[in-house]
Symmetry: C2
Subunit: 156 residues, 2 copies
């Protein structure tokens, strides 16, 4: 496991983003880490993330999977260049598509675990697969496609 979340290496996005910004007081503040061959996150839902009674919002899950797969794509982009995560010039990826399959209701009680890995890299395009787990069961999964949009100036 890396010392700090992947998001903290790509500033300012990693501090401000609604899904994963560490300093967004009204965001979901997801934190993703490399663990072996995977990118992993554990996340605790709050009561306001509810959909139906006792079940977490599918949109909230999509938000987590979007930010988690973006972290995985970005980390893979740096590794492919033999550079440390976040090293200037920053690599920036945007989501081209996100396809979420909801397999069963995801309990609001949490905690949730997200596991992602890159399945394809081709030019500026990175494809990431993600599974989402609660109480030992896979409750949702996703495939996300990212496109590198060039180098952004380094953050603070």
């Amino acid at each position: 496991m890396t010392e700090k979340p992947l998001q903290e290496h790509v500033l300012p996005f990693g501090r401000t983003c609604y899904g994963c910004g560490s300093e967004n007081p009204r965001g979901l503040r997801l934190q993703s880490f490399r663990e072996g061959e995977e990118i992993v996150a554990t996340w605790q839902p709050q009561p306001h993330h509810v959909s139906g009674p006792g079940v977490i919002s599918g949109g909230g899950l999509a938000t987590l999977m979007d930010c988690h797969t973006c972290a995985a794509a970005t980390e893979a982009g740096y590794r492919a260049e033999g550079r440390a995560m976040g090293e200037p010039p920053l690599l920036t990826y945007v989501t081209a598509s996100l396809h979420v399959n909801y397999l069963r209701p995801t309990p609001l009680a949490g905690p949730l675990t997200l596991r992602a890995h890159v399945t394809a890299m081709e030019g500026r395009r990175v494809v990431v697969a993600c599974t989402l787990w609660a109480e030992g069961e896979e409750t949702a999964n996703a495939e996300a496609v990212y496109v590198r949009v060039g180098n952004a100036p380094a953050g603070r």
Copy 2:
């Protein structure tokens, strides 16, 4: 346009849900209405919904499209039965899949407009197409598949 948002007809979900609950103080509080042959919503992003600078979070957009297409599926389910929206017993639909295409960055300044319509209904399954607009341009679209999971008890 109906008198009150579609979500307000399906209680308690329409009051509590993270994406569209009218009484969720930390949710997105989307409100969807029937307008002619479409289900339409207008939504104003807040600063904390940011992703990159000046751009709204893709996960936030997925959340809006999830709740908006769910409202469209539910409304279609009631119409197919010749019943008024929200009439007990409540029809409940859950998202089976959500596929979002991000066509270009969606400005955080807003407002955003969502337009949805049902493209297929077969047994318990409803497919909904949704487009998302900002400053006169389509910036994202989605296809969502819903499954009716039976009748829920009527809310307050």
